[in-house]
């Protein structure tokens, strides 16, 4: 029983990280039809923001030593600033380009960010202990230890999703974003500023990336220049199987991918456990064969049909 609970909590916590990352990707896809492959690098940069930009082998703590509230705020501000600069320098000039061109632009941005990190911080992994007490606190449930961190990840994700829903449903800016996501030209003809809603989407996407950075960094305790990439890959898959352009789909997809990975991790015989991702991707292909539009059919997808 205790073991079962542990597997479920781990699965939901991994699913939560994927869902948060997928939301960041889904928001930009919604308004801009941009599949932002640099989202993983936004996540990486959030973690690197914690240390002093220096080439040496050891991490010199910087934001990491701030008061937790200030630390969270600083990390979010830094990643949001990077997201806005990326929008201005890369995606604004490509505003009227095709979705494929935008995507290639995001690959280029990803490459530039990774290489800047290597230039400034070096390519070596650096260990950085952040709030490791969260991984040490454990509850005893039916003889099995349940750590606090996965519970916290799930809670943070639920809170952020609730805030995002409130923002999108209850505020005028949120309504403008939903309108622009559905029909950008019509929204503009009603005075909704394109630059404003797109910047807003980058702000939200960047803020979500920053939170993922922190949660992921607490979990792993290590900084590498490609640490965000696997999150981005799984989150991208999540948005695809969830249904491109649907935020609910992003969350459902993220949860599904996380839960399936964790359950396979726990349930596969040890000899094949190393090939877990083969099974995950196999399932993804199966889902796409059965439901090419994704689990949740978005308005954007419906319109294109």
């Amino acid at each position: 029983m205790g073991y079962f609970i542990q597997v479920i909590i781990d699965a939901l916590s991994l699913g939560s990280l994927y869902a948060l990352a997928a939301l960041g990707i889904g928001l930009l896809f919604g308004v801009l039809r941009l599949i932002n492959f640099a989202h993983g690098d936004f996540i990486t940069l959030g973690a690197y923001a914690l240390i002093v930009p220096a080439y040496g082998p050891n991490a010199i703590r910087f934001v990491a030593d701030f008061h937790p509230v200030l630390l969270v705020i600083c990390t979010i501000l830094i990643v949001v600033a990077i997201a806005l600069i990326s929008e201005f320098l890369v995606f604004r000039p490509l505003r009227y380009a095709s979705a494929a061109t935008l995507m290639v632009g995001s690959f280029a941005l990803s490459y530039v960010i990774q290489n800047l990190i290597i230039m400034i911080y070096s390519g070596r992994p650096k260990s950085l202990d952040l709030w490791s007490v969260l991984t040490e606190i454990k509850f005893d449930v039916s003889g099995v230890d349940i750590a606090l961190l996965p519970l916290l990840i799930i809670a943070v994700t639920l809170i952020l999703m609730a805030l995002l829903v409130l923002f999108l449903k209850r505020t005028p800016w949120g309504v403008q974003m939903r309108a622009a996501a559905e029909d950008f030209k019509m929204a503009r003809m009603l005075g909704v500023r394109a630059n404003f809603v797109i910047s807003l989407a980058f702000v939200l996407s960047g803020a979500l990336a920053a939170v993922v950075s922190l949660l992921f960094e607490v979990q792993t305790g290590i900084l590498t220049f490609r640490m965000g990439t696997p999150l981005m890959v799984f989150a991208f898959i999540a948005t695809v199987i969830g249904g491109m352009g649907s935020l609910v789909g992003s969350v459902v997809g993220g949860m599904a991918v996380g839960v399936v990975s964790s359950i396979l991790q726990a349930g596969l015989p040890p000899e094949v456990r190393g090939y877990r991702d083969v099974f995950v991707f196999g399932l993804v292909i199966l889902v796409l064969l059965l439901r090419p539009q994704g689990i949740v059919l978005s308005r954007a997808a419906r319109e294109r049909v």
């Binding site: 005028p172 309504v175 403008q176 939903r178 309108a179 996501a181 559905e182 029909d183 030209k185 019509m186 929204a187 503009r188 003809m189 009603l190 005075g191 909704v192 500023r193 394109a194 308005r299």
Partner: protein, 250 residues
Amino acid sequence: MTTLLKVDNITVHYSRLAAVRNVSVDVSEGEIVCIVGPNGAGKSTTLLTISGILSPTEGTVTFGTKNITGANPENVARMGISQVPEGRHVFTALNVEENLRIGTRMRRDRGEIEKDFNMVLEMFPVLAERKRQSAGKLSGGEQQMLVIGRALLTRPKLMTIDEPSLGLAPKIVDRVYEVLTDLRNRMGLTLLIVEQSSERALKAADRIYVLRSGQIQLSGNAKDLRDGEKVKQAYFGFTEGVKHVGEVAF
């Protein structure tokens, strides 16, 4: 009458193809002007160029005293041109009230918004009943009322409407035109309407332009053209008795 909108000699391309060539249209304050023409004539292209979705390769668009050629759609809207595009374009992700209010965000006269909002709900009681419903659930006629109300709530100086009768039953089309003429008569709203049916246009408009193959074929006072003969010729491009192959009879 002062000229409110002056479309001067515009040519608009889709990549290589010129969809509209040397088109000029004037609209004076308080007028109802109709552009009529067959499918593919370039009517929508003309309206989308006025609202800044498309840029002309030649010519200018002037609104009041401002040159708005190539301006952003949001800035054109903010200057006072509200477009109801072809196919209505309600936001189905939004409820009826959110649809109506979205264009009020750019208004400076905050105090007037509630008054206008109530006026629109009075004008279209169906919308009042269904304020909280998704706009996608409305019938075609109700959606047409919604987008007209939505455009009105931006308090435009000029409203442009692309084929308001598209896909609606004749009785509902009558009602739409009743509303539009009423808006002009009561509030002095200036209207530029695009229609395929020249009969409808001749009834509603003060002046009409006939557009075919991307060019203006004829323009004049609706009163003078009321018998419809000249319009028919300009519309179909044939003189009486000589029908070209492939052209549809009136």
